[in-house]
Amino acid sequence: MKFTWFNLMPWPYLPDDFREKHHSVWVDIDQRLFDPAKSNAVYNTYMDLLEYADTLGFDGIGVNEHHQNGYGIMPSPNIIAAGLARRTKNAALVVLGNSIALYNPPVRVAEEFAMLDCISGGRLVAGFPVGTSMDTNYCYGQIPALTREKYAEAHDLIIKAWTTRDPFAFNGRYNKLRHVNIWPRPIQQPHPPIHIPGGGSVETYDFCIDNTYSYSYLSFSGYLRAQALMDGYWRRVEERGAPDKSPYRAGFAQTICVAETDEEAERLYWPHVSYFYNRCLHVYPGFADAPGYRTIKTIQTGALSQYAPPRGGYTQLTWKDLVEGGHVIAGSPETVRQRLEELAKGLHVGNIFCLMHVGDMPAEKCMYSTKLFAEKVMPKLRNVFPEFADDERFWTHPLQQRAVPGSLGPAPTTAPGAAPARAPIPAE
């Protein structure tokens, strides 16, 4: 199992009456609720927490891209990942991801991801989401019915840029580039592992299966509600004739809160879980799914947008509802272990994106929960899928010897000698 510690980076100062007084947490959120001076501490605390997760042995630390969004103050995950690349040692940098249809030209993503891979010594997991309708259509103005075509073209361009060693011309419908010649290029060959966040469309299943990409279902509604969707994915893996059903072909995001006991978990974390479900997910339904954004085939399968709130909304959900319904896995280390094992086996997923900072959770509670998870849960779940222990296709391949940031010695007091700074690069 691979565990990625994920931070959505919610703004922690949404008012108590946010749901009643405000139209939406996303797209047209009231700018006055953001306090740039306070954000200085918020950003740095959130980055500190991601770095802390690296010291505890998480396989990855995860960031993502949202725009004009009260629960994600990370319009550019690459900026956060660049900071993390310097201050972390071992964890994969899981950027899940860059909404590649939004970049003009998308070569920019190929370049920035290459930079992250180079700076981190080959620790990048590259995520390519289509992006939510809120982000892609309503905030960034992409035409809904053309978004997927533009996404597909951006993907082809990025992969070609990463894997072609000579300048080439790219005559796309959305991108006309006479000289594509990426500089720098990634350490990982042929390119960093690719994870694709999806929400149940068959086209995305096939895209992942055919390209050996990992399919990530990033939901906030928990593992019990994900069963039908993930069953659909695994059925498709079989139908499509994939050579194996490795659990690392899939990832799943799950809110997780650990305490000494189940009771303590409720007492410590309920206010923050409630903050997340009641304020952070207050998305105006008109922004959830611009007509044309999802394909007809996907709508016909009956999958509703995950941003369409459950009947009656989240307000009526109690701690008990959320925990029993699997939205949140919370409790003692043993409770959490049991339920995560149930999740991993039930959904057959090897990559778990652990949402361990929830809503307006303060750093000390988050560290407490994270440490208990790393010490008392994670080690017991390492070997859930022994037969796939050697599957390296969906994870990073860092350099064995990596640069140590901040390791310059004192400045020389006399002129340095003429010796070459480093050995020449060996031929490929």
Binding site: Y138, A145, A290, P291, G292, I296, I299, Q300
Partner: protein, 258 residues
């Protein structure tokens, strides 16, 4: 009105046909069109009406090869050609008005009579047009009708929104129709028409409901200023759906340029 189909390069185009007299092509708005459309009935009492559905509308499939304004305008001419018409009276409502105006600007010698009914296609920073794509169904009537209550009743008559099967069909239809409309209207319903309207040679009438809250009536004079000799007709007690609230007035205005 009779429902028929004609083939163009891009799609099998369904259209409604009825009435007799001079040929008139009517292009519907983003909300679509039904066989019982009151304006079509009015027009058919005076003209030989052809009303093609944009692919994606009228129970037809969306068309992936129609992507931008030029594609839609040329497709419009493809339909006229396929119907075997020469210089038909060209009438368009809302999005259909935007397409009709583009067609007239693109081929000014092929259309001599043009009626634009609260057309989309221009954008005035001081008068932003509402984001119709983010509106929920229950929010629509107040933007579309002079009398939102009567309009809402008309929009939902015979529909059962609590039936999941209906809801599914509704979502698919909505995605098909507005997915196609979004190619011209999302996120801002403007594709450079203002720079091309000078080419229109047709005798033109612009019709606007005075209570239009979707595309405010201030856009009427903006269109009028860009088309030489265009006449502007304002209709009282009518909103964006002036075509269903005051169909006789609209038909009369069309007749005046015919």
């Amino acid at each position: 009105m009779q429902s028929k189909t004609v083939q163009t390069k891009h799609a099998a185009v369904r259209y409604l046909e009825g009435g007799s007299g001079e040929p008139l092509v009517f292009l519907h708005g983003a909300g679509g069109m039904t066989e019982n459309d009151p304006l079509l009935a009015e027009l058919a009492s005076r003209f030989h009406v052809y009303a093609p559905f944009i692919p994606g509308y009228g129970e037809t499939e969306e068309c992936e090869t129609l992507r931008d304004m030029l594609d839609f305008a040329l497709h419009g001419w493809d339909v006229v050609e396929a119907l075997g018409l020469k210089n038909p009276i060209l009438v368009g409502h809302s999005m259909g008005g935007m397409i009709a105006a583009e067609m007239a600007a693109l081929a000014p010698n092929d259309v001599s009579r043009l009626a634009l009914i609260c057309p989309a296609g221009l954008w005035l920073d001081e008068h932003p047009i509402v984001d119709m794509f983010s509106l929920l169904p229950f929010e629509m009537p107040k933007y579309l009708f002079h009398d939102p209550e009567a309009g809402a009743a008309q929009m939902t008559s015979g529909l059962d929104m609590s039936d999941p099967k209906f809801l599914q069909t509704y979502l698919v239809r909505n995605a098909r129709q507005l997915g196609m409309a979004g190619k011209l209207l999302f996120p801002i319903p403007e594709r450079g028409l203002a720079e091309r309207l000078y080419r229109v040679k047709a005798k033109t009438v612009i019709v606007w409901g005075e209570s239009d809250k979707m595309i405010p009536p201030v856009y009427g004079p903006a269109f009028q200023a860009k088309i030489a000799g265009a006449k502007l007709v304002k209709v009282a007690e009518a909103g964006h759906m002036v075509i269903s609230e005051k169909p006789a007035e609209v038909a009369k205005a069309v007749e005046a340029v015919a």
